[in-house]
Symmetry: C2
Subunit: 396 residues, 2 copies
C-alpha cells in the first residue's frame, strides 16, 4: 500500500562546517545555485562552460585545454581520472598512507589495472626514496598520489620530486587534490602533474556535484588512443570530449546549477587571487593550529607536512573523541569529524577550507572544542588558546 | 603564462524551457537549492535522506526499500542500473527504436554484457510479439526498455505485458523512466518492473544532479550476489548500500544541495497528488497537442503511444526546423529542440514537463512556434491553434 508521505518543509539546522568537507558555502555561491536554469545546450550555457574552464585552469595553475567539471562529486572526478587513464593489464602504483590511496587502488583494480603499493605510515607523507624504489621494482604505468590526505591531515611536500621520478620511468602521474585545490599551494604545470582532480566542497566552498579535473595533452593522448573503451560510459572522456571540446555536442545533461555554482566559487578565487587565498589559509589555519597547540593539544603530522585545510588534532588521553564531536554539534552547531580508518577515534579532523577559513570560525572552534574537552575533565587552557590564535591573526 | 580571468557576474537569459529537459524549475525548488549546507553525515541529513527515499517510493509507486537518488545526472542512474545488474558474460536485450536504447546497449557492453536487440522503427513502440520472439531466440538475462523515449516522443504502452514475458523467461527488467517519472502514469510495483531509473530535470522539474533509482529486493539480491564487483566504484550499489541502507556510513560525499532540491521537488508531487499530476500533464500537453494539430501540424507517434511529456511535432515540408528553433529562442526566450539521431531535422521536440506543464507555457509555445513557421512562409492557422488549445484547457 503506497500512501502519500507527510514530509514537512526543508529546515536543516544552521551549522558551521569545520569538518573534512563540505565547508561553509559563500552566500554568492548559494545564490548562484538558485538561478533559474537554461538548457545544457543553450548558447548562453556554452559561454558559461567556457568561463568555468578558464577559471578552473587559473585555479589549477595550468594551461591544460582538458580542464572540466565532472558531473558528480569528488569521487566521480577521481574515477574519471583513474578509469580513463588506466587500461586493463597496466600496473598502477598507489600509496598506502591514507584512506584515499585505498580508494584509488579500488578504482584502478576495477579499471582492470594491477595495483602495487608504496608504503608510508598513516599520518606521514611518501618518501622520495621509497617512491624511487617502488618504481624500480614495479615499473608502473600510472602513479597516483594524494597531495592533501583528508583522512590524515598530511600534505605531500615533495611533489616535483615525485613527478620527476615517475617521468624518468615514462609513467603518468595522477594527483588527488581534493582537499588542496584553491586552498593550498598547487602548481599543476610547474610541478609537471599529468592529471589532477579535486572536489568542489572543500577549499572552493561550493556545494558538491560538479568536480574539477584537468589532464595534460600527453595524458589526454593516452586516453584517446586506448585500445578498449573505458568501463564507464558516463565518465568516458573520449565522449565528454564532444561536449566540453570544440564541438559542444550532447553527451549527458550537465548538472547546470552546479556548473553555475562552481563558476561563482571559482570567480571568488580569482577575485581574491590564488596566492592571496593560499596565504589566507596559511594564516587562518595557522591561528587554529596555534590555538589548539596552546591549549595543550598536538597535531598528528609533523610541521613540514602540515595541511592547513585539514588539521588532524590528536585527542588527549582519556578523551572520547566522538563524545566531544557530538558536544560541539549539539551546543554550538559546529561540525568537526573523527579520524577515518587507522586513525578512527584517535584524532579530530578539523577543516579550515575556503569560506570556512575565517577568524570567527576559528574563534568558535577554539571555544567550543575547549569547552567540550573540559566537559570530559580534560585539563586544557582555553585562554592560552585564544591568545595564541589572536597572536597569529594579528599578524595578518 | 597563467593570467587571472576576467569573468563577470552570472546573468543567464531568462528562458522558458519547453525542450526535452531541463524543464522550468519550481521557485520552491530553486529556493531549496540555495539552502545552506549541512554535512552529508549530519544527523539532520540522515532524516532528509529518509524523507527523499519515502517520497521517491511514492512517486515511483513502489514499496522497494532500494530507492535512492544517484549522485549524478540521469545517465548516472542509468549506468548505476545497468552496471550493477549486468555481469560479464550475460545477455542483455535492448530496443533499437530510439536514442536511449542505444545508450543502454553501450553501457551493457561496457559492463561486460553481450547485447542483442529487439527492433521497432524510430517513432514506434516495441511490439509484444517481437519482444516474445527476441526472448525465445536469445534468452536474455536482462531486458532493458524505454518507457518514455525522449528522442522520439513515444510512450511504451504495453509495459505489464513486457515484464510478464521477461519474467516468464527468468530475466530482469530495467525500465528507463527518465521522461515519465512524475508526469506520466508509471506503476513500478503493479507493473512488476525490477529496476527503474529517471532524471530529476524532466517531469520532476528539479535541477539535474541527483537522479532517482529503484530496485526490487529480487534485483538487489542479484546485485549483492555478483561474482565480480561492478566496474564502477562510484556507482557500486553494494557500497552505496552502506550509506543509503541502515548503516548510513560514508561512501562518497552526497550532492547535498541536489538532495535538498529533489526532496522539495518530490514534496511538490506529493502535495499535488501523483494521479492529479498525471492528469495535469494529460490535460496541458493535450492542449498543446490540440493546438499544434489545429495549426495544421502533425505529431510523429500515433495517439495510442503519444507521450504527453515530450511531443514530437513533425516539421512541415520546406521548413528548416533548426531555424525555427533559433527563432523562438531569439524572439521569445523559448527553448524547444530538434530531433535526435534518425529524426534529426524532421521533428520539433516540445517538452511539457512538471512545472513547465502550465497553460501560459502552452499559449507561448503556440504563439511563438506559429510565428516562427509563418516567418518561413508556412501556411499555419495560429488562431485555430489557440481555439483548440483553449478548448482543451477549458475542460480542466
Amino acid at each position: 500500500m503506497i500512501t502519500t508521505p507527510a514530509v514537512g518543509e526543508l529546515v536543516p539546522p544552521n551549522r558551521t562546517l569545520m569538518g573534512p568537507g563540505p565547508s561553509d558555502v559563500h552566500p554568492r555561491v548559494l545564490r548562484a545555485m538558485s538561478t533559474p536554469l537554461v538548457g545544457h545546450l543553450d548558447p548562453s550555457f556554452i559561454e558559461i562552460m567556457n568561463d568555468v574552464q578558464e577559471l578552473m585552469r587559473y585555479v589549477f595553475r595550468t594551461d591544460n585545454q582538458w580542464t572540466i567539471p565532472v558531473s558528480g562529486t569528488g569521487s566521480a572526478s577521481m574515477e574519471t581520472a583513474i578509469g580513463n587513464l588506466v587500461e586493463p593489464g597496466e600496473t598502477v602504483l598507489v600509496p598506502s598512507n591514507g584512506y584515499f590511496g585505498g580508494r584509488m587502488a579500488s578504482m584502478a583494480e576495477r579499471a582492470g589495472g594491477t595495483v602495487v603499493r608504496v608504503d608510508a605510515p598513516w599520518g606521514e607523507p611518501l618518501d622520495s626514496a621509497d617512491v624511487q624504489a617502488a618504481f624500480d621494482e614495479h615499473q608502473p604505468d600510472v602513479f597516483g598520489f594524494v597531495h592533501a590526505e583528508t583522512s590524515t591531515g598530511v600534505r605531500q611536500p615533495n611533489v616535483p620530486e615525485l613527478t620527476r621520478i615517475a617521468h624518468a620511468h615514462d609513467a603518468y602521474v595522477v594527483a588527488d587534490c581534493v582537499t588542496s585545490l584553491g586552498g593550498v599551494e598547487l602548481e599543476v604545470d610547474d610541478w609537471d602533474i599529468d592529471v589532477a582532480y579535486a572536489g568542489p566542497q572543500k577549499c572552493l566552498s561550493c556545494p558538491p556535484g560538479a568536480s574539477p579535473l584537468t589532464l595534460s595533452d600527453r595524458a589526454m593522448d593516452k586516453v584517446l588512443s586506448r585500445e578498449h573503451p573505458t568501463r564507464s560510459w558516463y565518465f568516458d572522456l573520449s565522449l565528454l570530449e564532444g561536449y566540453w571540446g570544440d564541438e559542444r555536442s550532447y553527451h549527458h545533461t550537465a548538472p547546470i546549477s552546479n556548473v553555475y555554482a562552481i563558476r561563482e566559487a571559482l570567480r571568488l578565487v580569482a577575485e581574491e587571487g590564488i596566492e592571496n587565498r593560499w596565504g589566507r589559509h596559511l594564516r587562518v589555519a595557522g591561528a587554529l593550529k596555534a590555538g589548539v597547540e596552546a591549549m595543550g593539544l598536538g597535531l598528528n603530522p609533523t610541521d613540514d607536512c602540515w595541511l592547513p585545510s585539514l588539521n588532524a588534532v590528536v585527542a588527549p588521553d582519556g578523551i572520547d573523541a566522538d563524545d566531544a564531536i557530538d558536544y560541539v554539534l549539539e551546543h554550538y552547531d559546529l561540525e568537526i569529524a573523527s579520524g577515518l580508518g587507522a586513525l578512527a577515534g584517535d584524532i579530530f579532523r578539523i577543516g579550515c577550507m575556503g569560506y570556512s577559513a575565517r577568524p570567527e570560525n576559528v574563534a568558535l572552534l577554539v571555544a567550543a572544542l575547549g569547552e567540550a574537552l573540559e566537559a570530559q575533565g580534560a585539563d586544557v587552557d582555553v585562554a592560552a588558546g585564544f591568545d595564541a590564535m589572536r597572536g597569529v591573526l594579528g599578524d595578518g
